[in-house]
Amino acid sequence: MGSPMKVRAQMKGDFADIKILMSHPMETGQRKDPKTNQTIPAVFIQQFTVEVGGKVVVQSETGTSISTNPVFGFKVKGAKAGDKVVVKWQDNKGDSRTDEATVA
């Protein structure tokens, strides 16, 4: 089970502004451990989904060019205060994490 992420969702006019902060090393698999000179294996988020009010609104595939502890921002029309936002990611090692928030 991955580390907790922070999900925030706020109504701004007619759309919900969603901000997601994920906790993940996003190791590219190109770095070497300076002590052992071994390549540090790649561990990175490959996919994630964002659901609002029970429907998938964003489906994403990501690679090793995304920063460690990724942050993503999305805007969703038709959402309203009180809607549940659920974010789920999975990485190349099969680890995953789900967190949610309510649209404020």
């Binding site: 659901e51 429907k55 609104v57 994403s60």
Partner: protein, 157 residues
């Protein structure tokens, strides 16, 4: 239901089907996440190859696709980029970093009210063009790009 196993990145028609399926609420996150990660696209070593792997044929520059990024990145490890498409019926946006070992950084598919608008943070190895590609429901591709400089910074205080 084989066609649903392909993500929007794999073909012109698949995205339309995926978008429709997402809109109809047919797909749950677990099903979506069970789809294959587009290895060919993410492991392509240059932007043209990566764009080909996501099915992006000739992409036309569009002023309605906006890419907001710093002129100079304070640190190449965390480069904040915003991509906004006001091109009607934009289904997806992909972001490429030309000079990275693997240019394709991420792709996003929008449905059920999600605007074609994404903020993300990139790892850049060196000064490079950052390229956004947007795909519309009629299978057309559009592009916008910006050079982001990556330099040796300072002392970190």
């Amino acid at each position: 239901m084989d066609i649903l196993r392909r993500t929007v990145l794999k073909g012109a028609s698949a995205s339309g089907v995926l978008a429709a399926a997402l809109t109809a609420g047919l797909l749950k996150p677990t099903q979506v996440l069970a789809m294959e990660w587009n290895k060919a696209a993410f492991e392509a070593k240059d932007t043209p190859a990566a764009m080909k792997a996501v099915g992006a044929a000739s992409a036309a520059d569009s002023k309605d696709l906006k890419l907001n990024a710093p002129d100079i990145a304070e640190n190449g490890a965390v480069v904040p980029v915003d991509v906004t498409s006001t091109i009607p019926n934009t289904l997806s946006i992909a972001v490429f970093i030309d000079k990275n070992p693997y240019p394709l950084s991420a792709a996003f598919n929008f449905a059920n009210g999600a605007m074609a608008d994404v903020a993300l943070r990139l790892k850049m190895g060196q000064t490079s063009i950052v390229r956004a590609v947007a795909k519309t429901s009629d299978g057309k591709y559009f592009t916008a790009s910006k050079e982001v400089k990556v330099t040796a910074g300072g002392c970190g205080g």
